[in-house]
């Protein structure tokens, strides 16, 4: 694949842990790759299956979901719901021929600024290895209608 391939990642970060971790990364001036762009949701439990499919349909090479650590959810158990949904999603995506690594769920607490760097940089590396989600148009179209 071309070396200049820059993966695009849509990151759904929960407002209370992972989004704050990203803020902390900022205030600590931690440098990471610019390939991930954050959509803020109140809780990882809000991340709808459609959001993920939409992201892939619209050209994302990877989707990252960030929530609070198990037991730490600001809404008690939203992150568990997210986990359940994530497992189901993976199976679904596999059937669509989308590799597991393209969807990632991470628990990142408000204190773990550097974890944001690690996760995003890792994911970019993985996606560079996998290459662009070069789904034929009809595949994307298929995704779109599912979404």
């Amino acid at each position: 694949m071309p070396d200049d391939f820059e993966p695009r990642i849509v990151a759904f970060f929960c407002n209370w842990c992972t989004y704050l971790a990203a803020d902390l990364a900022g205030t600590s001036r931690i440098k990471y790759l610019p390939n991930a762009e954050v959509v803020r949701v109140m809780c990882s439990g809000r991340v709808d299956v459609q959001f993920v499919l939409k992201a892939f349909a619209k050209g994302a090479d990877g989707v990252l979901i960030g929530g609070c650590h198990p037991g730490d959810c600001h809404y008690q158990e939203g992150n568990y719901k997210a986990l359940r949904r994530y497992r189901l999603l993976r199976r679904l995506l596999r059937q669509m021929g989308i590799e597991d690594e393209r969807l990632r769920l991470e628990w990142i607490s408000a204190a773990e600024g550097d974890r944001v760097r690690v996760v995003i940089d890792e994911m970019v590396a993985t996606l560079k290895r996998l290459g662009p989600l070069r789904k034929a148009e009809e595949e994307r179209a298929h995704l779109t209608e599912v979404a």
Binding site: K31, V38, M42, G45, K54, E77
Partner: protein, 664 residues
């Protein structure tokens, strides 16, 4: 969308944040890019959007250009979303016609390549512009604030916060885990730098707590459950039995005399095991409440059931002692809570090369605080465990501080308390005292002067991190001593200094139970484990959970003056909420589109707050928006897409996704 609320006219504002953003993101290019996006009628860049001129700009443009949507690309919404929403409101626009783009924490500060950072910023702005077009006008709800306050922790922080609130006429529940309030400060003899007696300034406050009509004091108790939300917390407190009734006991302490155990045999926790107590005891003479505790672990009656229970006899017709007492569970309702759960000191066993636990004459600073304390195990005499008077003493700074192998942070108080102990030890024993420090840190009113005072008292200050404390001798001059090996980094050679007593200035660390407390109150911890404040500078006593405030060392190590100041601040924050009478809630709640609801009940199980209920007669779900906290889990779960969440509508988020992928 436009048919719903007139033509969409968006104003986009790009903030330079001085150089914070402008240095890494090409703000001009960004503003020009934004100007060309659909529905954008105006795009500006400005040095400081959060400044009042910046906010005026928005208000003015709303009027001049009939803007009905605002996007500000600046810092994190956690910092200024509220600021800008207010600006919209003042400008006559519904505050929720607003979206904020975080191009500082998520672009300029975390990327180095200007082109890439700018590209990313463009995507984010594009996303916001698409999103904001779908925004609906929303109204904030209001919830009343219950005027009572919960204060957790009865150290100086909790005590001060409780008294401040109580004096302001609010009712306070003060919950303390130990049998007495007072916390660590009660263990100290003198306080730096003024050397005024800790007891003299603390004990009056302690008894004031006890006698204050507005304070319910529950010692030997812990919070086990917290439900509800700001203004309306339901708290469960477990009160362990102390086997002596606080209301009936007069504090005569005759039961202690009467106890069949004539000798005190149990290591006394309050004195860190430096003295012994009986199975029935009072932590220390000035304890509040002045009520003994029975320790079931060591009380004969509990172990064998065959005790003469002379204590009960001694108590006579007061009948205060009840060895069959059981734990009580209290349910209270409060509007706000202040966490003042404090700290614990570093366990010196984790630095074995200093010999704590191996050599009896190696002490922790807290142990020495008890030794120098007039009401301590030695009545203020600084003597070694074998009764000898130390002739040379070495104080080792930074034990468990500033060390990647233990704790990275500076514990802030060790330098000063080491100076204090050095002074007191020299005063009491006339010993030669050596301080071994990496850097002397004396920032505080009168601190530096105190340091000077000690220099003039000819206390030794040796700059170097002690490598080891051992008992091996180099020659006869070191026989029977502990030897401190250190590089005197200023004199420039390695020294061996034989001493009789080693004092380890152990640092402050988060309490072992901090994680449980954190979960209980639904707040976060910073990386080192202390409770996380909402903002290090602008909201140092607030947490990310409304109505929960922090005071004292549970937030970070600090000395007594700072702790008291912070406790006052926390009390003031609580008062502000209480006196406002209500708090405005975010309108990001969920609601069911009844016509689309198929009544599958999926959502019911999703909600941890039982906010979603099933209306049998219409066979549809309904969300109680007062109970709903707005996580959106039910929305994501609804198979028929019948539930929607304000501010996080599907179409809003879809638009945002398309935006970030628009490949600007």
């Amino acid at each position: 969308m436009s048919d719903r609320n007139g033509a969409v006219r968006i104003g986009v504002y790009t903030c330079h944040c001085g150089a914070n953003i402008a240095a890494t993101v090409d703000v001009k290019a960004l503003a020009e890019f934004a100007a060309l996006l659909p529905n954008v009628v105006l795009s500006r860049d400005y040095k400081y959007m959060c400044s009042s001129p910046g906010q005026d700009l928005i208000r003015q443009d709303i009027r001049d250009h009939q803007l009905n949507r605002i996007v500000v690309a600046s810092c994190s919404p956690h910092l200024h979303e509220h600021t800008f929403r207010t600006a919209l409101k003042v400008g006559g626009l519904n505050p929720f016609y607003f979206h904020m783009v975080n191009i500082r924490e998520q672009a300029s500060w975390v990327h180095e390549n200007k082109a890439q950072a700018t590209r990313k910023a463009k995507d984010l702005v594009c996303a916001a512009v698409r999103r904001v077009a779908f925004h609906q006008p929303l109204e904030r709800g209001r919830v009343a604030i219950h005027p009572d306050v919960l204060v957790v922790g009865g150290g100086i922080a909790g005590i001060h916060a409780a008294l401040t609130l109580a004096n302001a006429g609010k009712h306070v529940f003060l919950v303390e885990r130990e049998a007495t309030i007072g916390g660590h400060m009660a263990k100290f003899d003198k306080t730096f730098p003024t050397l005024d007696c800790a007891a003299c300034i603390l004990t009056p406050k302690m008894s004031a707590v006890r006698s204050h009509p507005n304070i319910t004091l529950w010692t030997y108790s812990e919070v086990t459950k917290v439900d509800g939300y700001v203004g309306n917390y339901k708290v469960t407190v477990l009160r362990h039995p102390r086997y002596v009734d606080e209301d009936l006991c007069s504090g005569c302490l005759e039961c202690l005399e009467a106890c069949v155990c004539k000798q005190a045999k149990v290591p006394d926790d309050f004195n860190l095991g430096l003295s012994k107590r009986k199975p029935i005891y009072i932590p220390f003479p000035q304890a509040v409440p002045q009520v003994p505790v029975v320790d079931p672990e060591t009380c004969i009656q509990f172990k064998s059931g065959k005790c003469k229970t002379t204590c009960i006899a001694a108590c006579g017709d007061r009948h205060a002692i009840n060895l069959r007492a059981e734990a009580k569970v209290e349910q209270i309702e409060v509007g706000t809570a202040i966490l003042a759960t404090g700290f614990q000191t570093f366990d010196a066993r984790r630095t074995p090369y200093y010999g704590f636990g191996k050599y009896p004459n190696v002490y922790t600073a807290l142990e020495v605080e008890r030794l120098v304390n007039a009401s301590g195990p030695t009545a203020g005499e600084v003597v070694l465990r074998d009764g000898r008077l130390p002739r040379t003493v070495g104080i080792v700074h930074c034990v468990g501080s500033r060390d990647e192998n233990t704790h990275r942070w500076c514990s802030r108080v060790c330098c000063m308390y080491s100076l204090k102990l050095a002074h007191l030890i020299k005063e009491r024993t006339g010993a030669e005292v050596f301080n071994f420090y990496i850097d002397m840190r004396t920032p505080g009113k009168g601190f530096e002067e105190f340091y000077q005072k000690l220099l003039n008292e000819r206390v030794h200050f040796i700059r170097g991190r002690v490598a080891e404390v051992t008992d091996w001798v180099f020659d006869a001059s070191e026989e029977g001593k502990l030897v401190i090996r250190v590089e005197d980094t200023l004199a420039g050679f390695v020294r061996r200094i034989p001493v009789d007593m080693v004092v380890l200035a152990t640092g402050l660390e988060p309490r072992a139970d901090a994680p449980e407390v954190r979960r209980l109150f639904n707040i976060s911890c910073a990386s080192e484990g202390f409770f996380l404040e909402r903002h290090p500078k602008l909201a140092p006593v607030n947490t990310f959970t409304d109505g929960i405030f922090l005071a004292g060392c549970c937030q970070a190590p600090k000395d007594i003056p700072d702790t008291v100041a912070q406790a006052g601040a926390a009390a003031a924050e609580a008062l502000a909420l209480i006196d406002a009478g209500y708090v405005e809630t975010e309108p990001n709640t969920a609601h069911v589109m009844e016509e689309q609801c198929c009544g599958c009940k999926t959502c019911i199980s999703m909600c941890p707050y039982h906010a979603v209920s099933f209306i049998e007669d219409i066979h549809k779900s309904r969300v109680n928006e007062v109970l709903c906290k707005g996580c959106g889990t039910c929305v994501a779960a609804c198979p028929s897409g019948a539930i929607r969440q304000n501010l996080f509508e599907d179409d809003e988020i879809f638009a945002e996704i398309e935006g970030v992928l628009s490949n600007a």
